[in-house]
Symmetry: C2
Subunit: 317 residues, 2 copies
């Protein structure tokens, strides 16, 4: 595993300052090009192959009445991803990303974390390995997303376990919980926090689940081994990634946040993680949708960095 390459990042920064524009005037696009340069270890990063992976799982916590949709919707949405009918399919097409859909044991939901652990530690390891194996080593950037009825409750309890606070701090409407379901979500989170000890990444994933969250963690670790920059999606994806910081405070340094969800906990989470989203478009869909829109911006950033004329080439100054 190579660390962030400061020499390449510095070279990219110097290149930005001689391109035909006022220095700094491309703002976030300049930062993105420099970030990619450092992680790819080349002054002019490339963005030919983009892979988007959507991990899907089911969750025992739905027994607590936390979600308006039945659990079967997870599998139906996986079918929808596979037949090309979901938002993420259209956004990947526009953004030029290859979509991989990885359901994890949908017919075997995790345990209800208010009653016991969501997963055995061996199940956590297996789901992390599934996540790692899904990563395309030839990709230039990796986008991560998720689907799983009930998983905004899992995200809320993970956020509390990693960053502190209670259900009231982290619970939001998710796919559209009504006020009774919101009460159930907050209560479930607080009961889960009371029942389980904290600990490291594996302990928290074991306590609360879920499989798609463990897979996201595995994919992020694998991407780091490959020096592959990652675009995380919204609230649920970020919460899963945050669990990695329990074992390594720098675990997410190769990760970008694609989009700030309207799920209220996301802003709080990003502040705590000191991460700044690329986009804020009032989306709250998950399935990698925010990451896919952010990929379009990243493509613009890399194209400007690679292909703009310098002042000398344009005979200016």
């Amino acid at each position: 595993m190579k660390p962030f390459d400061h020499a390449s990042a510095d070279a990219a920064r110097e290149r930005q300052d001689i391109l035909t524009k006022p220095p700094g005037s491309l703002g976030r696009l300049e930062e993105l090009a420099i970030f990619m340069a450092g992680w790819q270890g080349r002054a002019v990063p490339v963005l030919n192959r983009a892979q988007a992976v959507v991990f899907a799982g089911n969750h025992g916590i739905v027994a607590q009445g936390v979600n308006p949709f039945p659990q079967q919707v997870t599998a139906l949405m996986v079918d929808n991803f596979r037949t090309g009918g979901a938002a993420i399919n259209q956004l990947c097409k526009v953004a030029g990303a290859h979509l991989s859909v990885v359901p994890l044991d949908l017919d075997r939901p995790t345990g209800d974390f208010t009653q016991g652990p969501a997963m055995a530690e061996a199940e956590v390891a297996a789901a992390m390995e599934t996540g790692a194996s899904a990563v395309d080593a030839d990709a230039d950037v990796l986008l991560l997303g998720e689907m799983g009825i009930g998983n905004s409750t899992v995200a809320a309890v993970q956020a509390a376990a990693v960053l502190g606070g209670t259900g009231a701090d982290w619970v939001g409407p998710g796919t559209g919980a009504n006020s009774e379901e919101m009460d159930n979500k907050r209560r479930a989170v607080d009961e889960g926090l009371a029942r389980h000890q904290g600990g490291g990444t594996t302990a928290v994933l074991s306590a609360f689940g879920g499989r798609e969250q463990a897979a996201i963690c595995g994919a992020i670790l694998r991407a780091r081994e490959l020096n592959l920059p990652v675009i995380l999606d919204g609230f649920i994806c970020t919460a899963a990634a945050a669990v990695l910081t329990l074992d390594n405070a720098e675990a997410l340094e190769h990760c970008l946040i694609g989009h700030q969800s309207t799920e209220p906990g996301h802003r709080r989470m990003l502040d705590a993680l000191k991460m700044s989203p690329i986009l804020s478009l009032d989306m709250r869909l998950g399935e990698g949708s925010g990451a896919a829109v952010a990929l379009m911006v990243l493509r613009g950033a890399i194209a400007c960095h690679a292909d703009m004329a310098t002042f000398a080439e344009a005979g200016i100054g």
Copy 2:
């Protein structure tokens, strides 16, 4: 000229609510699809052909020491646009827009508005006609951008003339003015406001210029005749467009704001116009760059709207 078609917009809104996602979860992308439906007059809007036009002009106000770059840079950047070396070229390529570059009499700058009118009214009319003629009637969306050394001072005085306030309220660093140049910009704006009466669109364009601003106004009016939605760029482009509201408060209803510039007056201007930018990426380049990145988001919005499966098609619910 057809007005916004509420029946098509309503049909688009109803379609959004049956697509396979929680209602409202695509946020701004849903709003953009509905906006396009209303202006195109079809429940499923299309986005095949996108045209970006960059208008360029020169400004007598540079005699007041308002810009660090010499006026020749305007023509050199036009060459750069034509040979494909500028940011807007790369962004149009990524976003799938056809770029038109329209310089307006670069060797004949407008008059210094602290000394007299920038343009005769006949020159305003000619520049507006050039702008109108540049619009591709077969486009599905029009992006507008500008280039012109000194034109952030023109934008500041236009903003003050349309929305009130003084140089101190509207002047920012533009391409990178130092503190002396900033003082010169504020003074120039205040002297311009003192010298010229207000009035309608033509009077303000005549008083302060410039040709690219008048061309932007002409293009916006022509797009409205064509029921063609428009994506405006940043501070300078929005200020030019705002001049149209002097004659018609609803003149910009078919326009989106692509990107909120870091030029400090832009936020103030958007608040006054009650317009909400699609993106905020700390850019401040102009030349249509923010509009081009916003086009990528719009493509995502239209693709989701047109091609997602409905709940019924996916067998959900």
